[in-house]
Subunit: 138 residues, 2 copies
Amino acid sequence: MNEDDDLGALCAGAGRALAEAERPVLERHGLSMWQYVVLSALADGEAPSQLVLARQIRYDKTRLITLLDGLEAAGLVTRDPDPADRRARIVRLTPEGVRRHAAVRTAIREVEEDRLAGLDPATRRALRSALAHLANSG
Amino acid sequence: MNEDDDLGALCAGAGRALAEAERPVLERHGLSMWQYVVLSALADGEAPSQLVLARQIRYDKTRLITLLDGLEAAGLVTRDPDPADRRARIVRLTPEGVRRHAAVRTAIREVEEDRLAGLDPATRRALRSALAHLANSG
DNA sequence: TATTGTTATACTCTATAACTATA
DNA sequence: TATAGTTATAGAGTATAACAATA
């Protein structure tokens, strides 16, 4: 992987390397990558409907269903009817879901810290800020 | 996309945004993302066998075949038997392949420049260097 | 016996269409 | 009529196994 490569190729390479390093962590905690993404989204903001959640994480609403089925069966999330709109169901983390997400997140952060070893704080800040810029520029 | 997100999520978001911006460019030139990856690999280094090429770009060797079939039919690459090992076939860019790759690369770079607008040169350098570091840390 | 390229097959992931119950 | 959630189905993308030619 050369620094002269396309930026897209560099992003893909870094993303793949991170995903490969994080996969064993997720497996150890019994979560798929997308399930972790769901838990992270729920841990961050307001309790969303399934449709809003799907849009937040840019995931297909029909695929989200089996994902939530698994998380619900594992006791990590609940789906309750929205009192304001009985078509919609509000997704929330259970206390166990909060704990599981926090544990996985800590482990994930450790892996990432490991991969960032050797980069000075200024470079790390620039990396995060530039990635956020790129991700939001669409 | 928050700067407090996991690094993996940031990489994925940036990569997705870049890929979405570049897809129309590739379509306009009649190439898929993976076909462009192949052309880029061939433009860079020594002419490899199919197996070596597959490993270089981290692509399945069986999938590479139909990819090369398409590129060969489009007159962008050739596959010649390796004189030193008649099992192997050496993949090379044709002159038209060289031209096509150069044209697409220029267009891709323009898109990326566009997405980087607003980031100062130091941040851009830090971004490339940090991404290369992450991609090679596995 | 092992390896390169190839084909065929199975499997997973993702996208599309249609149904239900509410609005 | 339109929307949220669901299901079923089809399609693309990916991985696995086996074969012919060569080492």
